[in-house]
Amino acid sequence: MQTLDVSAQGLREVNATLQAEPGGSNQAFEIVNPLGSHAIAVGLDAPIEVTVKGSTGYYCAGMNQQATVNVQGSVGPGAAENMMSGKVVVDGDASQYAGATAHGGLLVIKGNASSRCGISMKGIDIVVHGNIGHMSAFMAQAGNLVVLGDAGDALGDSLYEAQIFVRGEVKSLGADCVEKDLRAEHLETLTRLLAAADADADPSEFRRYGSARKLYNFDIDNAGAY
């Protein structure tokens, strides 16, 4: 385990060290004194393990490929934004737009996520142990958003083909988002994601939400729904 100190080495050197790991490396790193800095552990592209000891600012673990990043604290806006693969686990809370536009990988938030969680997600799986804020999964295109707690206003507004599973209350659904049946294949997906996220929950307690597909192609009769 190699220790990297943001306050002593500076963020640029810490990130450069992580990004220099060659493909196939499975080295483990520990980042100390993150001091809420922005863009910690971004742009990684090797199956390394990174543990951040404390809370971070914006864009933690953004654009991640292959790496596993564990944050032992909370993260600011845009955590795991545009992640392609790998795994990001946040022990605390996440601020706005966690997992935004991400194409793959798994994002686990053990606390609560704020507004716009999974906005425009394109294939990532997100599991939130707590609650999520308003406008989550707005324009989400692919992947799964699993919420063990409650969801805020306008969940899944203008949703495409991403699937949303919520165990708690949903304050309101956004345009074109509807509740759908929870079939065997969905229970299977949920079981797999809950296990991967170390979440202790019964898949049958969740409700599934998806797109009503009325807004895919413009139809003048649906103009009011946009």
Binding site: G36, S37, S74, S95, H134
Partner: protein, 291 residues
């Protein structure tokens, strides 16, 4: 962008550290707003005196004999001066200040003092020796100008009522119509700045009988735009975000203090922050603490 910070002390033992802690928070938000910076601090209300913060573009001449002209005690700090007088003399002193060409009244009240200028937050903090300030609570702002010019008067905090002040991250879209409405109701707004309109709106609401919480709640309906506000009163400290809540905000609370920062970075130097309850304030929700 803009950066805002606030610190409300519950533990009196920390009062000597208020300026130092708030300055560190302010300077950490420099890259959110390098145009200008300001701080409002609350202290010394128990001395029975009224304080008026005055700013002068040419302090060497304008402050030279100000004490004699006003018949009040004047303490100069760079371009600002704190004028101290008995409550019964306050109206007369205020009128004399208003009559002096170029002098600007930044704040008035039992406890509030405001220091703000154009420049990097670190430079502003040094000019006013902000780290040495003691007090019960304070708020600060680093400005990236969007709605009005980069001038001292365009810097935050804005104070439009006794012991009231407000800092803002965001922009208001209906400030011009609100400014006209407030003007018809006799509420003065001195600058073109949207934030001053928000401060004046709260002052008007409180003049009409609302307490700060009620005024902030009414503001959620009447103020249109993106905003995170942090406000101070003689004994209180409040936070509110608009219903969309796209401007960042993070809060921390311990037995010793309540703190606000635009980013978590602003809070990392506070005592026992690792043990604090840290959370993101909900949209359209008023948070308020009082001594």
């Amino acid at each position: 962008m803009c950066g805002i910070v606030g610190l409300f002390l519950k533990d009196r033992a920390l009062e000597a550290d208020l300026g130092r802690l708030l300055t560190d928070m302010l300077v950490s938000m420099s890259d959110r707003g390098p145009d200008s910076a300001g701080i409002a601090v609350y202290r010394g209300h128990e001395d029975g005196q009224v304080k008026l913060t005055v700013q002068a573009p040419d302090p060497d001449t304008q402050f030279e004999s100000l004490g004699e002209v006003l018949g009040a005690e004047v303490t100069r700090i760079d371009t600002h001066a704190i004028v101290t007088c008995a409550p019964e003399d306050a109206d007369a002193v205020r009128a004399k200040i208003r009559a002096i060409d170029g002098l600007r009244l930044m704040s008035a009240g039992d406890a509030i003092e405001i220091y703000k200028e154009v420049g990097l937050p670190k430079t502003v903090a040094e000019r006013f020796n902000l780290p040495t300030l003691r007090g019960t609570h304070g708020i600060g702002h680093t400005r990236m100008a969007t709605e009005s010019a980069v001038t001292t008067l365009g810097a935050h905090p804005f104070s439009t009522g006794s012991d009231q002040c407000l800092v803002h991250n965001g922009s208001l879209s209906n400030h011009n119509s609100l400014r006209r409405q407030l003007g018809r109701r006799g509420v003065e707004v001195e600058t073109e700045n949207d934030t001053e309109v928000a401060a004046a709106y709260l002052t008007w609401k409180m003049r009409e009988g609302a307490n700060l919480r009620e005024a902030l709640e009414a503001g959620i309906d009447d103020l249109d735009g993106f905003y995170t506000f942090v406000v101070g009163t003689r004994d209180g400290f409040g936070v509110v975000r608009d219903p969309i809540a796209c401007k960042p905000a993070v809060m921390a609370e311990t037995d010793q203090y309540v703190a606000f920062g635009s980013e978590y970075r602003a809070l990392v130097g506070l005592p026992d922050i690792d043990a604090a309850r840290v959370w993101e304030p909900e949209p359209a929700t008023v948070y308020f603490w009082e001594h």
